[in-house]
């Protein structure tokens, strides 16, 4: 590499110093962390000349690496738990992670469900740790590698074969603090053969503080298992939030993941999904609402490595103010993944002249008997539809809200069967639309 002698940015130097200080204090295998940090530091913070980060220049966006948050006090926990997200009302098995530390594990677990704090699992060398990093595409990713180097806590979750977990498992990642801090959380979920589970994530934190959460959720889903995953990014107004979902699917799996972005100065959500067994179905969907100078990136790599799998990706973005939306989606179909059916769509509505949407859907197909399609749209709300609604008495903002709500609700309607969860997420969308005026 020609620019190997690149000058380190303040944030890169900061991260190197933080790693030197904290690595001996963090639980688990130090060699793994060293290896992960090396994978990160070889390339440094990714910038716009790195294809995967073309529209989200992390080197420019992350000026300073904030120190990692210490263990929260009782007062911190109380303050964080007051961040009452809309998913809190759902009857669930709840784990609370404050500032990157698991502070409250579920009181009682149904049979077949095991939840171990990650810190403990790392300390004891839990056998499931061997399942981390199951999706190779993620390894060299900067956010993933940094998380692997710094991960402090989170959870290891096992759903035993054939277990149908009735209530959703809700992981509440709450943050609190008055000055910038960083967190690195990791959750590993192993859903064994024929098991089924609903997993919720809420991410929330204080407004006006430039905190830096970087979370990874990894799922290993065995044959005939069923996973429904809904994630709400309601981080604070000034946060820079990186998140990665990896999922490795066995055969005949039904997998659904939905991500809602409502707020946050900078967010990047990455999904690395690998079909490793035949005949699985995956739906990866999301809705993003941004305004002001917010920046929201969704980056997907959908790897069809096994035959006869179906994937549906549907992402909706509403851009107001001077905000910037990014969608990068790549479907890879290996030569042996015949009969793959992959469809990816990203649609954006620009509500202002200054907003930007960058859409980059890609297909890499090496098999001949496949059905794959991708599409991307970006435009304003239809003037004729707006006039029709207004002629019925709806003021402009209300007419816009009605059209936007139906636009944003599509990925919810297509994937989420749990009505209360769908309603709670729709409520977040309505709240955002109402706040427009």
């Amino acid at each position: 590499m020609a620019d190997i002698a690149m000058i380190k940015t303040a944030a890169e130097t900061g991260l190197a110093n933080l790693f030197a200080i904290t690595k001996s204090l963090l639980p688990g295998d130090a060699a793994h962390r060293e290896d992960a940090f090396r994978r990160f530091s070889e390339r440094g913070l990714p910038h716009r000349r790195i294809e995967e980060w073309k529209y989200t220049d992390l080197r420019a966006l992350l000026r300073d690496a904030a120190p990692f948050a210490g263990k929260p006090t009782e007062a911190d926990i109380a303050a964080a738990e007051a961040l009452d997200g809309p998913l809190t009302a759902i009857d669930s098995i709840e784990a609370v992670i404050v500032n990157g530390h698991l502070v409250r594990a579920p009181a009682a677990l149904p049979p077949g469900v095991e939840i171990v704090p990650l810190r403990e699992a790392l300390g004891s060398g839990h056998p499931l740790l061997a399942r981390m990093g199951a999706v190779g595409h993620a390894h060299d990713n900067a956010a993933y590698a940094l998380n692997a180097a710094f991960m402090s806590d989170g959870a290891v979750i096992r759903i035993a074969a054939g277990t149908h977990v009735e209530r959703p498992i809700h992981l509440r990642f709450l943050n609190t603090g008055a000055t910038p801090f960083a967190t690195a959380t990791r959750v590993l979920v192993h859903v064994e053969v024929g098991a089924s589970v609903t997993l919720l994530e809420t991410h929330a934190g204080p407004g006006g503080v430039g905190y830096q959460p970087n979370g990874v959720v990894e799922m290993v889903v065995d044959d005939h298992a069923k996973v429904a995953h809904m994630r709400l990014n309601a981080e604070g107004s000034d946060a820079l939030a990186l998140s990665t979902l990896t999922a490795r699917l066995g055969a005949k799996v039904a997998f659904d993941s939905f991500n809602l972005v409502a707020g946050t100065q900078v967010s990047r959500h990455q999904v690395y999904l690998a079909f490793a067994g035949e005949g699985s179905n995956a739906g990866i969907r999301g809705a993003t609402m941004i305004n002001g100078t917010q920046h929201a990136d969704t980056t997907l790599v959908i790897d069809h490595a096994a035959p006869g799998c179906t994937s549906r990706e549907l992402f909706k973005t509403v851009v107001d103010g001077q905000a910037t939306g990014v969608f990068q989606g790549k479907i890879i179909v290996h030569s042996r993944a015949q009969k793959t059916d992959g469809r990816m769509m990203s649609a954006a509505v620009l509500l202002s002249e200054e907003g930007t949407m960058n859409n980059k859907p890609e297909l890499e197909i090496f098999a001949d008997d496949v059905q794959c399609a991708h599409g991307a749209t970006c435009g304003q709300l239809d003037e004729d539809l707006l006039f029709y609604l207004r002629s019925r008495g709806l003021p402009l903002k209300e007419a816009e809200a009605l059209l936007l709500e139906s636009f944003l609700a599509e990925p919810i309607g297509e994937g989420i069967v749990h009505e209360d969860i769908a309603a709670a997420l729709t409520g977040v969308i309505d709240g955002w639309l109402r706040a427009r005026g």
Binding site: E383, D384, F387, L389, R390, R392, S406, F407
Partner: protein, 250 residues
């Protein structure tokens, strides 16, 4: 109630209305007939407040209020309703949701309380039954996959529900078979009352057998060129619009 004086309208530098004058009184059903392209839909859009048009001259007064200074939703709240010639499909918005949002927006604009859901549903169901609209249609996305006739009935349902004081029907008869025409016309006729005015735009005389007008106006080249009673419609039916087209060329 509606008074249009010397209305001149253009779109993309093309004159469409050329000094149109028209008065419709309270309780009156006025029909406008005219050849295709004479500007009938343009007139209805300009009254309802569509933005693409440039009004170069003239005024539109509804009970003395200057409509041209009002937003489309304000005009609706003031009592204007347009049954579109081509009703729009709104994917993802359930008909019920749309109806409720419209009704409550108008009630709010008039300072009335929002209707409770049961009251609202009762009203919709009653209006739908009269127009022979199936209940499951109300759950579907507005106008999406509806037949031409179903869309037109849905327009009249909205009209019945919103109880406007001035109703414009733009070629509501087009695309209707004889049964649907009868149902729609009955729907309109039950709304006829002393305080409400109608502007019924049509290309054919047929509709006017069902909705019998008080006055008939002939429109050509963006102007009202002849006005009369309901017998004028029959005359047009017999002779066609040839006379008026000639006068365009002159």
């Amino acid at each position: 109630m509606l008074q249009i004086n010397n209305l001149v309208v253009q779109i993309e530098d093309k004159r469409i209305l050329n000094g149109l004058n028209l008065t419709v009184n309270k309780g009156e059903v006025a029909a406008i007939m005219g050849p295709n392209g004479s500007g009938k839909s343009t007139l209805s859009y300009v009254i309802a407040g569509r933005e693409d048009y440039e009004v170069l001259d003239g005024e539109i007064l509804l009970d003395g209020q200057n409509l041209l200074e009002m937003e489309p939703d304000q005009r609706a709240a003031a009592g204007v309703f347009l049954a579109f010639q081509y009703p729009l499909e709104i994917p993802g918005v359930a008909t019920m949701t749309f109806l409720k949002a419209s009704l409550n927006a108008q009630r709010k604009a008039r300072g009335e309380a929002e209707l409770s859901t049961p009251d609202f549903i009762k009203r919709v169901n009653a209006a739908a039954a009269k127009l022979e609209i199936q209940k499951d249609m109300l759950k579907r996305a507005l106008n999406v996959g509806f037949s031409g006739g179903e869309k037109k009935r849905m327009e009249i349902l909205q009209m019945a529900l919103l109880e406007p004081t001035f109703c414009i029907l733009d070629e509501t008869d087009s695309g209707l078979d004889i049964d649907a025409l009868r149902i729609v016309s009955e729907g309109v006729n039950t709304l006829r009352e002393a305080g409400r005015g109608f502007l019924v735009i049509t290309h054919y005389q047929r509709l006017l057998n069902y909705i019998v007008p008080d006055t008939v106006h002939v429109m050509a080249s963006g102007r009202i060129v002849k006005s009369g009673g309901k017998e004028l419609a029959l005359e047009l039916e017999a002779n066609g619009y040839a006379d008026y087209r000639q006068s365009d060329a002159a």
